[in-house]
């Protein structure tokens, strides 16, 4: 299959300072530390991980909301980071995003009609007013809302409806890749399934590619075709969702799966709790970054850092013992 978006050894370090005015020292917060991945056209690629793993920074780098320290981001083979301004503007019609909290991504003083049509007014200045009007109505219909919502303000809508508007807004410029950053975690349980099914329907109708960022692993299994698990700025395991879930190889992935609560009363947990917390990305542990929490860590893990290696076609793990 053809790769739509590719990340090659992308690094993002944020400078942080500590100490007072006179003894100020700069250190690097390594939010994303060498991430390479490839997203095929028409797939749903998931990035999972705890908070602080760098998954959202990856999304922000792809959206050009942060500039990468080094590495390259390729859309259909073209390096996005070398784009000229007009090319960047074009790129923004190809890649769109839906964020976690719809309420804060919609301007409270704009009507739904203007919120949905705004991206077209910016990106397609050549479109006539009638064309924009028609497209807005088509989009609102696509996300399952009635046209009478168009004259309302965001506060008049429920959480689920607001997320539908945010989805419509992302789809108006007909992107090829949509980044969904925790698309349902702020919604109620009974609404989550509606939004996830809606996203699946739109993907099918518009032949879209999704990059889904979420911490909810049960949801990830339902909505993704490929998954990458991140820990402290690095991918530790990546492959076909089915394979990763049926037989996770990295101890961190295994630990994550074992702590996900399941709706089965009386389930006896065989594995102990994962000890400790995710380390600081300012001074990540030497060697394998997971070794202080790893139940299988050996002396080797403290010194040499494992690379992401292919264990079977399309399946990569970064562990000395996988």
């Amino acid at each position: 299959m053809e790769a739509l978006l590719e990340l090659r050894d992308v690094i993002k370090h944020f400078p942080v300072h500590e100490g007072g005015l006179l003894r100020r020292k700069y250190k690097m917060l390594k939010a994303v530390d060498g991430v390479s991945l490839s997203i095929d056209r028409g797939t749903s690629f998931g990035i999972a991980g705890e908070s602080g793993s760098g998954k959202t920074t990856v999304a922000r780098l792809i959206l050009l909301l942060e500039s990468a320290t080094s590495g390259s981001i390729l859309l259909e083979g073209k390096n996005v980071l070398r784009f000229t301004r007009p090319e960047t503007i074009w790129y923004r019609t190809r890649v769109q995003a839906v964020f976690q909290d719809a309420a804060s991504s919609l301007n409270p003083r704009m009507r739904i009609r203007n919120l949905v049509s705004e991206p077209m007014e910016v990106q397609h200045k050549e479109l006539s007013r009638e064309a924009i009007r028609a497209k807005t109505e088509e989009m609102i219909h696509l996300v399952g809302l009635t046209p009478d919502r168009l004259k309302m303000f965001p506060h008049e809508l429920s959480g689920g409806q607001k997320q539908r508007v945010a989805i419509a807004r992302a789809m108006t410029v007909e992107p090829s890749l949509v980044i969904l950053d925790e698309p349902v975690s702020s919604l109620d349980v009974s609404i989550r399934a509606q939004i996830l099914n809606l996203l699946a329907d739109i993907q099918e109708r518009k032949a879209l590619t999704y990059l889904i960022i979420a911490h909810d692993l049960a949801m990830m299994r339902h909505v993704t075709t490929h998954i990458a698990v991140m820990y402290l700025g690095k991918i530790v395991e990546m492959g076909n969702t089915e394979e990763v879930f049926s037989n996770p190889l990295h101890p961190y992935t295994r630990a994550l799966f074992s702590v996900v609560p399941r709706p089965e009363p009386g389930r006896v947990r065989t594995t102990p709790s994962l000890k400790g917390e995710i380390a600081s990305p300012i001074d990540p542990p030497a060697g394998c970054r997971f070794h202080p929490r790893c139940p299988q860590a050996k002396a080797d893990c403290k010194q040499s850092e494992p690379c992401l290696e292919e264990v079977s076609p399309g399946y990569q793990v970064a562990c000395h013992f996988a």
């Binding site: 996830l196 911490h215 909810d216 049960a218 339902h222 609560p261 399941r262 709706p263 009363p265 917390e277």
Partner: protein, 329 residues
């Protein structure tokens, strides 16, 4: 084992009187908690689960909110009849609460040691004025804060989210309450930290035999941590019973739909079961059963009258006309 009844809530009604009308946030809710037992109150946002908890604590936002009816019996004494002064003695000592966001429960400008010791320095506690340093360290160690003694002078921002929630738990259990109410205690935490925190909560419960009310929207968390469950919808209890039985064969269509809509870690990629519509606006509740506009098994009677709570078996009950008709046959 004979379990002693700790808390019994009978027909609790907490209404909010707003300019646009009366919001019946909690409308005739009844349940009970035994010593050493974990009860889950589950439901979506706006179903009244948090207001139920605040009503027990007698902390419903005034003056709009008022508990207009019912009884809250804690070891036989009605909390609704207590004066504000008497309630202040009970809070923290007999009933305690943990809230969702630990950052909001901790004061950012006081040290952790200072905030935890407050629980011991309150009026009516053993120590009055004297040093409580030892107790503070002990309770922080009980919630497994590493090197507790050194961290007494740290401020909340120097703690991670999971550690902050442990500090909040330490304050809540400092005076060994008989009942602990945890309102979405792990919603803001990562799964690995959630797992650690829930295990800690269970261990504390085993040690002191306290009753626990866990308020959550996460049915998977309920399954692994609670003995009994109360499912709420639009201010009313729609189903209650032992977790095992309710999960095996949910009696109310809403409970059943919630279970089906849950993504499961084991099943393959597929379309999720979806519940149509949205939770109703409490100001404009539909007549009859509040769930009928979304219910796949809706009948004519559902639109006309609210179904009474019907006993399914033992202490399991549900409010649905389906059960009534089957019973009559």
């Amino acid at each position: 084992m004979v379990q002693e009844c700790l808390l019994s809530v009978e027909n609790l009604k907490t209404y909010f009187f707003t300019r646009t009308g009366v919001v019946k946030a909690v409308d005739g809710v009844s349940f009970s908690v035994n010593c050493g037992e974990s009860l889950a109150i589950a439901g979506e946002s706006g179903c009244g689960k948090s207001i139920t908890a605040l009503s027990i604590m007698r902390l419903v936002p005034q003056p709009a909110g008022r508990t207009v009816g019912g009884k809250i019996l804690l070891q036989g004494e009605d909390l609704l009849a207590k004066s504000e002064e008497e309630m202040r003695h009970l809070r923290g000592k007999v009933i305690s609460m943990i809230l969702q966001d630990p950052l909001m429960s901790l004061n950012p400008v006081y040290t952790i040691g200072n905030q935890v010791s407050e629980a011991f320095r309150l009026k009516g506690s053993k120590k009055n004025g004297g040093s409580v340093r030892g107790e503070v360290i002990e309770v922080l160690e009980r919630v497994r804060i590493p090197s507790a003694e050194r961290r007494l002078n740290d401020y909340p921002f120097q703690f991670s989210g999971g550690m902050r929630q442990r500090v909040v738990a330490a304050i809540a259990i400092a005076r060994q309450p008989k009942l602990l109410i945890a309102d979405e205690p792990t919603t803001s935490l990562d799964v690995t930290i959630q797992d650690q925190f829930l295990r800690l909560l269970k261990e504390m419960q085993r040690q002191t035999n306290m009753g626990l009310i866990l308020i959550t929207h996460d049915l998977a968390v309920v399954a692994e941590n609670c003995d009994r469950i109360v499912v709420m919808y639009a201010g009313k209890v729609v189903e209650s019973g032992a977790v095992k039985e309710v999960y095996q064969s949910p009696a109310h269509p809403y409970t059943e739909a919630l279970m089906q809509a849950l993504p499961k870690l084991e099943s393959k990629r597929k379309r999720l079961y979806q519940i149509e519509g949205e939770p109703p606006n409490l100001l404009r509740l539909p007549p009859g059963c509040s769930f009928w506009p979304r219910c796949p098994k809706m009948m004519n009677i559902c639109k006309a009258e609210y179904p009474p709570l019907t006993t399914v078996s033992g202490d399991r009950s549900a409010a649905c006309w389906l059960l009534r008709r089957e019973g009559e046959k």
